[in-house]
Symmetry: C2
Subunit: 452 residues, 2 copies
Amino acid sequence: MKNIESLLEKFKPSWEEQEKYGHIAARILHDLFRICEEKGIDADPILVGSFAKDTNLRGGDLDIFVRFSKKYTAREMEKLGLELGRAVVSDPQAKYAEHPYISGYQDGVKVDVVPCFRIDKSSEMVSSVDRTPLHTRYVNSHLSEEQKDEVRRLKLLLKSLGIYGSEIYRNGFSGYVCELLIDRYGTYRELISNFAEMRGRLVIPKGALHSGKFTSPFVLMDPCDDNRNAAASVSLESFSKLKMAAKLISSGVESIIFNGTEARNASDILKRHTAFRIFRIPHPGLVPDTVYPQAVKFREVIVSILHDGGFIPVSSAIDITEDIDVMVECERAVVPRVVRHQGPSVDMPNSIDFLMKWRGKKVMRGPYIQGDRLYVEIERECTVLEDCVMRSIGSYDIGKNLNLFREQLKILDPVQDMALLETKVVDTFVNEIFPRMEKIVGIEHLSAREDL
Amino acid sequence: MKNIESLLEKFKPSWEEQEKYGHIAARILHDLFRICEEKGIDADPILVGSFAKDTNLRGGDLDIFVRFSKKYTAREMEKLGLELGRAVVSDPQAKYAEHPYISGYQDGVKVDVVPCFRIDKSSEMVSSVDRTPLHTRYVNSHLSEEQKDEVRRLKLLLKSLGIYGSEIYRNGFSGYVCELLIDRYGTYRELISNFAEMRGRLVIPKGALHSGKFTSPFVLMDPCDDNRNAAASVSLESFSKLKMAAKLISSGVESIIFNGTEARNASDILKRHTAFRIFRIPHPGLVPDTVYPQAVKFREVIVSILHDGGFIPVSSAIDITEDIDVMVECERAVVPRVVRHQGPSVDMPNSIDFLMKWRGKKVMRGPYIQGDRLYVEIERECTVLEDCVMRSIGSYDIGKNLNLFREQLKILDPVQDMALLETKVVDTFVNEIFPRMEKIVGIEHLSAREDL
């Protein structure tokens, strides 16, 4: 039986690994210092991220930032930063997040070299990467040696729950949020017993609500930035999963969390007797950070059209590989011609407006009174799922880039065309995105995901 | 264009009619007096009902009660009462409501002769008919001559709305309620302006709620009986219809009420693309007052089974002729195999019980968390409407008499078998029981319904 201690034993990096990482980091930092000096670049490299804070898990990567003087323009800094990165790692690849950086390898370890501006407080910040070194400094000056392993325990729990990581599609807890939570509660155990008893929102510190600026279920002020909720990426669902897990652990049944069940088979969807459709549009060929939020919007629009059309969508999944696929499961693919529309109570002054509005209109029945409310039954324009989506999609905004592809929308039925069951989005549907406590990710998957 | 004044002109009885009714009543009362005297029966006849109160509409019937001394047993009184009734009308027929009475004709006018006990206040009452003469006395001593026509206006409005009558299946306003309402508001016009502005419950007098005994939306204390809500038969829906009508009248668009649209055709249901079924059980051959409440229960049970089964019932109708027919319209006749079951919020202490209860059970998916709630998806036992009802009906109570016929339930589909479109319940569905402001009964129908 796995538990949090067995996980820590397995996934805390060995001394050998830490030493190896230390050597690699020292070599790269040294090289960067040297090149800056040689070329007269006013910049200094700094080790950041979980290795720098000693809260890393086995097989993680190294994050090295190069802090430039603010005398450079953003463009100059980026150009110099990419040159520096290319000079110090093998297989350098330029990547583009909020601004460009270099990702490469050294002795089998993934290393990111990220240029940023050198600042002392968040108010001087140009882009969010500038703040990262402040986070490293904060954690190192606030957490004790013992607390580093408490952070690792929390990270391992969150990975087991599938809610670790601040990437936009994960809606999870970042490493920094884990560190701030241990800073707040002292230990993993204490955090668990607090979450097990928690009801409703969590706001740290309490005063953070005074401005009324933060409305999410979990607000954790960034001690390095008064204007930032460090936990903004944590969704209600992820927050709720941690609460539920804490209840299980406090009740002595934590084995449920750490011993996941088997993966499901795509053909399982056939047993549900529901209507599945894959909504596919071409990938615009842009980076995930640009595409993902638009894909989410695409999903929301599809689900909302299906809901309004009466098809009763029950669940959905997104997959972004060659195309952008949204799979939606509905209770039905054909709806009755008639739809009942609820009006006001007869007690309301506008009840007469409702009556007059619908009188004489082409209705299927009504307006009539049932209980104390007015109703009218009208005719649906579309009774078939495909028609309904095809007719409506053109008038919805699904993001700047995806809007260009709305007219190329294809609607596929994986039950009619069984080859589609091999599609990644079907696997995602049965096993991944749709939240399932039952299928809490088996810990064996962890190493493959260590780069998260 | 019809309005309330044109209706009054048309349906207020002429002097000739009133005189004719007066002569008939006088003759019968005289005969009854004579027979009682001859036979030494300690009883006196009394004219009651709307004619006695001068609040009757054209073509109504006559109600003559025979008040017996309480020295008789109920059985003796009933036996003597039926004999007396048979002696004074043509075509006498014994009928049975709370107790037996004679219904017959005289010169084309329907006359009911009803035996009751002679009482002075409601506390001495044996059955509710004993109280009726008190009502007649109250109304005649409280309403002015002018107010009689105000009562007639109100009755005509309520008939136009299809909510006049205290019969159990009508859920409407009795004549006595109309008289008490005019007693309270003074005039029809004043009543309308009060109902147009009314919100929520109406309680007359205000103090009637002190006991907490009456919870219905409209409470009108019977001035002849402190323990009785005279408006108990008025449903929320009927009460709401009067409010809505009052709003229309106050806004000057009363023509909507008095000029009904054409009746709908049974085949209209075919356009709705929904699932219709007629649920038919044999008539137990008992009086309406016994059968109707059980038929209502039957309908409620069917609708509830269909609702729980996921078939989304949207409307229904009852017809009691040769058989008892309940017609229900559902959004679908086949449901998905999977059904989602909502559990508690993760914040609730019982969330862990929900999780443990479903873990390891045969579920289609879950338990999982969405938002802050737990869900599980389980397999439905029945996915076909007929199976679902047939399997369940045996375990529901549909009334003492109808329970004996549960196993003879037939489920018919008027869309598959078009001959069934001629069934009365289909007509009721499209035109009658299901409330429709649009199809407020055309006043031409009134005379055919005057015996209600």
